[in-house]
Subunit: 266 residues, 2 copies
């Protein structure tokens, strides 16, 4: 089991922020990454469609005999974890819970804000996870559907981005939150402008690093960590043409992507 | 043949602007509309993926024995018409050429602007069609990828929309065009703000009405117009959940949508 790779999927390149943290936390592990770029975004679509796509994505990753699945997409995590766990025996982790654990530990005034896609916010997945940990915490949520297109267009600062951010966050500001969860893997790229608008004193939580820790904990508990110090042979797949994936993906991964392969099932 | 419906597809609800014009121009014709809402948008994806999706969409519409296909999506029209015409015997019309014919007729200074998605602009489909009609016309193109999310978010006016429009159109303004083609079925909803920025003296062409005229001409030539004055029984299909389709779709159609069915092939 321990030499098998970890399978990670996202609707696109956003999940590469999780891969980046896995590289740091678990440098010997081998990754098979899948970005469903032909059908992105997921955040504006219905739970039933997102679940169907998630099942197909995991089915593809299972071809590589992965030992664990990381759902590195908040929208898919908020809608599809149950159905995936019902179907597959290997551990499946999402990006919601690790972020929630971190945020509930950090908050001092018990007022947490959550931003994400329409589908994520509508699912109330963050709210449910937070309430399960502590009934005393108040959660304030806001969908920010323009954030993904902004990041994909590369407009991560400047006047227009500042105004859109202000428009989305104005309600959260009035709620006096002290912690804000970035509930979408695209949002860390907007972190500077989000922090500027929400206030430097509000702590910002993104899930990527917490997920890597959770993956580490689970693999350790199962005795399934890869011991080999042989350089892992990571593989990256996309359902749409691979050129676009490389171009935008490197911004998320923070390093070079040598080769991307076309996943053939879409 | 003449009692058979017309099949129309788009990546989402934008093509309903074409349906609206068909209702006006060809009130006796029956429509089967398909919005590929599970996989939208097309405009940021690769030609090969768009072609694959287009083929699947037409295959679905063929189940209804349609007598004509209208590709009511500029991105799909700019990439997939040839492959569709190779495969199917019925007439297949797109939204590029009708808009081009109109624009080349209207222009006085032979300087035409085109705005559209990344995929449409990159395909140079408008440029090629215009050059085929007249070598003297200069074409200036600009991709405006934030326009679709703006429309879907319902931000069709206001300060943010004005600034984004200004940012995209500033280069076109410096080219002194006298005619601007809206090369995406979402853009007519931004027409007021686009007109304000580009200048009231620049004539704006959207394809929807020209396409309806072309459909009329072809069906007339083939003797395939529906003669029955029985109320047509239009059908609307979406590949994602149908609720979202109705909500946004009515804005594009400009009238009520009674019922949308789930297309099951995605």
């Amino acid at each position: 089991m321990n030499t098998r790779p970890i399978g990670i999927f996202d609707s696109g390149v956003g999940g590469l922020t999780v891969v980046k943290e896995i590289f740091r936390t678990l440098p010997f592990e081998e990754i098979v990454y899948l970005g469903d770029t032909a059908r992105l975004p997921y955040g504006t679509k219905s739970p039933e469609t997102i679940r169907r796509f998630s099942l197909e994505n995991v089915e593809f990753l299972m071809r590589f005999k992965v030992k664990m699945i990381i759902v590195a997409c908040n929208t898919a995590s908020s809608t599809s974890l149950d159905i995936l766990r019902d179907k597959y025996k290997i551990p499946i982790i999402g990006v919601i819970k690790p972020g929630v654990v971190k945020a509930t530990t950090i908050t001092r005034n018990n007022r947490i804000g959550v931003i994400g896609t329409y589908a994520t916010i509508k699912s109330r997945a963050y709210e449910k996870e937070i309430k399960a940990l502590s009934k005393d915490i108040l959660v304030f949520s806001q969908a920010c559907p323009m954030f993904v297109p902004l990041v994909e267009e590369g407009w991560v600062n400047g006047d227009i981005t500042l105004r859109i951010t202000k428009k989305y966050l104005s309600k959260l500001i009035s709620k006096h939150i002290d912690t804000l969860i970035l509930g979408c893997t695209h949002y860390p790229l907007l972190r500077p402008v989000i922090s500027k608008i929400i206030g430097q004193d509000v702590k910002i939580v993104d899930s990527a690093s917490s997920v890597a820790e959770e993956a580490h904990n689970i693999l350790t508990a199962l005795g399934a960590l890869r011991k080999s110090s042989k350089t892992p042979n990571h593989r990256f797949f996309a359902t749409d043409a691979v050129e676009n994936f490389v171009k935008i993906g490197e911004r998320f991964l923070g390093s070079k992507i040598k080769r991307v392969e076309r996943a053939d099932y879409v």
